[in-house]
């Protein structure tokens, strides 16, 4: 038993099964949307309806009074799908009708709902969200390093404005949400079921007609392809979700690095930690504004991330691509690459030359067998605040009243060749030219002083803050004759001998004896 409805097609009344009615109605709707922009569309639809009425009339007879879904399907095959009108290819079979309605959604800027360029309004219309939410998100993103502003400008340029009514309708399209995705999958699964059912029926018929016909095999293959298609679709959605998640995590990581979200990054486990912006500023700040480098990094890494997100979202929601999206992004990426290469050369130019400086410090030979090595006071830095410094390589960023940078020296104690204690101070710096590097090196302040048998080494070297970091280094070598004793005071020292080669932090003064291989412990 089936429920039937009465319909009036071109002035003739038909009894029609409910499912057949739905099918016929959908078909007529798809025709209307196909012809809606054609001249005389009403006439065309009327003519087609009249013809459909004629064809349906032929299906009915004395014993058959109700139009079934099979009749409707046959009529549709005779009349053809809208897709066939456009191309009129010779495939007699009907294309699945749900394809026609969902593919006409596009991304437009909304001119009726705009504050600046209508981008937020367009996104809102596309996602069926309140544009206010999108606007708030955009405003929030402005505080996160201006990324939102850049994105807005790009979208403003890339996305066309919806000017005609058709475009405005396309802009809204079908709602994109989880339940619709579910619906579209369900539709595909049920159409698959229908096709399988049809397949078995036609196969049976074919078998009855002629056993040797090749078409059953074709039909089975087609059915298998259908199954694969639906599984493929589900797989694509899963891949899309993975892509979106990957894109989001890349985005967060990238923002954290470039804009110093979360304060600092770990460069190496024992060398601390300096946020990307301040290291960039330390290296480039004195030469030019690091803005363009940041922008080019943003483009070079940001665009691939946007593309990952975009293709993920596209796989999930299956919307029609934004016109020229990929090529536009690629062009912007190329611009970013050009800027990046340009600045790479610029940076290379800043550091291509270097200068070294070696100086023997005159000292009076110690009276006793023991020479004391000690670090002088930290000066303006007090130890309590040490862990709040930002450290990059061996530079400690600390701004005192004179706004200096602090350079941590590397100190080595080695066996001397003769019987004299020697102290050698070496410096290193880079620059545009050898003379610039030399000037830079001369601005590094580092002192070694002697009081009796004790050598006081400055705990840190300094260079002025209006200069910038170009690999400045201070290396101090103290050469002590074999057999003599070295007393190292509290602090960090590098102990080298036959067996070890490491840095040790001493809490109290400790005595070592110089051997041919280095400093040995004294019991």
């Amino acid at each position: 038993m089936k429920k039937t409805v009465n319909i009036n097609v071109s002035g003739i009344i038909f009894h029609i099964d409910e499912d057949a009615y739905t099918k016929l109605n959908n078909y007529l709707e798809s025709l209307k949307s196909h012809f809606h922009s054609t001249e005389g569309s009403n006439d065309i639809i009327d003519d087609i309806e009249a013809r459909i009425a004629e064809l349906l009339q032929e299906k009915l007879g004395q014993t058959k009074q109700v139009i079934t879904i099979r009749d409707v399907n046959e009529v549709i095959v005779v009349m053809g799908q809208p897709s066939q009108f456009a191309e009129d290819d010779t495939h007699g079979e009907t294309a699945p009708s749900h394809k026609t309605s969902s593919s006409s959604k596009r991304f437009y800027r909304d001119p009726d709902n705009k504050v600046i360029g209508g981008v937020c309004g367009g996104i809102g219309a596309y996602l069926h969200w309140d544009p206010v939410i999108i606007r708030i998100l955009f405003i929030i993103s402005l505080f996160a390093g201006g990324f939102g502003a850049l994105l807005y400008l790009i979208l403003w340029v890339v996305i066309p404005e919806a000017t005609t009514t058709t475009e405005k309708l396309e802009m809204r399209g079908e709602k994109v949400n989880i339940s619709n995705i579910e619906k579209s999958i369900q539709e595909e699964v049920s159409s698959l079921k229908d096709q399988l059912k049809n397949l078995t029926e036609t196969t049976k018929q074919n078998l009855r007609r002629s056993g040797a016909s090749p078409s059953p095999i074709e039909q089975v293959l087609k059915g298998v392809m259908e199954v694969l298609r639906v599984f493929g679709r589900i797989l694509l959605i899963i891949i899309g979700i993975v892509l979106v998640l990957v894109g989001i995590s890349f985005f967060i990581a990238f923002m954290a690095v470039v804009f110093g979200w979360g304060g600092s990054i770990l460069i190496d486990s024992d060398v601390l930690i300096m946020s990307f912006p301040s290291s960039l500023n330390l290296i480039l700040g004195c030469s030019f504004n690091p803005f363009f480098i940041q922008a080019s990094l943003l483009i070079l890494f940001g665009i691939p991330i946007i593309l990952i997100l975009y293709s993920g979202i596209k796989l999930i929601f299956r919307f029609e691509g934004i016109r020229y999206f990929g090529i536009t992004l690629f062009n912007i990426w190329l611009i970013g690459l050009v800027i990046g290469v340009f600045y790479s050369f610029k940076i290379y130019n800043l550091v291509k030359a270097d200068a070294t400086d070696q100086q023997r410090i005159e000292i009076t030979q110690p009276v006793s067998d023991t020479i004391h090595l000690s670090y002088s006071d930290w000066g303006p830095i007090d130890e309590l605040s040490l862990d709040t410094y930002e450290v990059f390589d061996n530079i400690s960023l600390y701004k005192d009243q004179e706004r200096n940078y602090y350079l941590i020296p590397s100190v080595r104690v080695e066996p001397a060749k003769g019987d004299q204690v020697e102290v050698i101070k070496r410096g290193f710096a880079r620059g545009k030219s050898a003379s610039e590097a030399k000037t830079r090196l001369s601005m590094v302040r580092y002192n070694i002083q002697q009081t009796g048998d004790t050598l006081f080494l400055d705990h840190v070297g300094t260079f002025p803050q209006d200069d910038c970091w170009r690999g400045q280094k201070i290396m101090v070598t103290v050469k002590v004759p074999e057999g003599k004793y070295v007393a190292l005071s509290k602090g960090e020292w590098r102990i080298e001998n036959e067996y070890s080669f490491y840095t040790r932090i001493l809490d109290n003064t400790k005595l070592y004896q110089m051997s041919s291989s280095g400093l040995d412990d004294v019991e």
Binding site: F35, E39, A50, A53, Q84, F85, D88, D89, H91
Partner: protein, 113 residues
């Protein structure tokens, strides 16, 4: 590969048919007043159309261009029928198109023969 090549060929055939379809419809109507089913019958026989839906936009266009006109006629079974007939303009256009087509057909035949 097989599918790609053959779908293209079918598509090209369809394009060729499309070009001459209006000429054929006009000729059919010129011979005798006809309603959609008659025209469809003849075009299907000649394998010029595959689905009937293709025909209706063309009929409407011919009518809107003033090449044809129509009258309603009651039918014993089904809805009243639209009988199309050719206008004077239509006849003139047809007289222009026919030799044009013959020339084209001869020329193409010469080249591909």
């Amino acid at each position: 590969m097989y599918y790609i090549c053959c779908m293209n060929i079918e598509n090209q055939k369809a394009q060729m048919r499309k070009g001459v379809l209006e000429l054929c419809i006009l000729s059919i109507i010129a011979e005798q007043d006809a309603y959609a089913s008659d025209i469809i019958e003849k075009l299907k026989e000649a394998k010029l159309i595959i689905v009937e839906g293709t025909l209706y936009p063309l009929l409407t266009r011919l009518k809107n261009d003033g090449l044809t006109t129509y009258r309603w006629e009651e039918s014993n079974s089904g809805p009243p029928r639209k009988y199309f007939q050719i206008t004077d303009i239509g006849k003139a256009v047809l007289n222009d198109l026919k030799p044009g087509w013959r020339e084209l057909a001869v020329a193409v035949e010469k080249i591909i023969a």
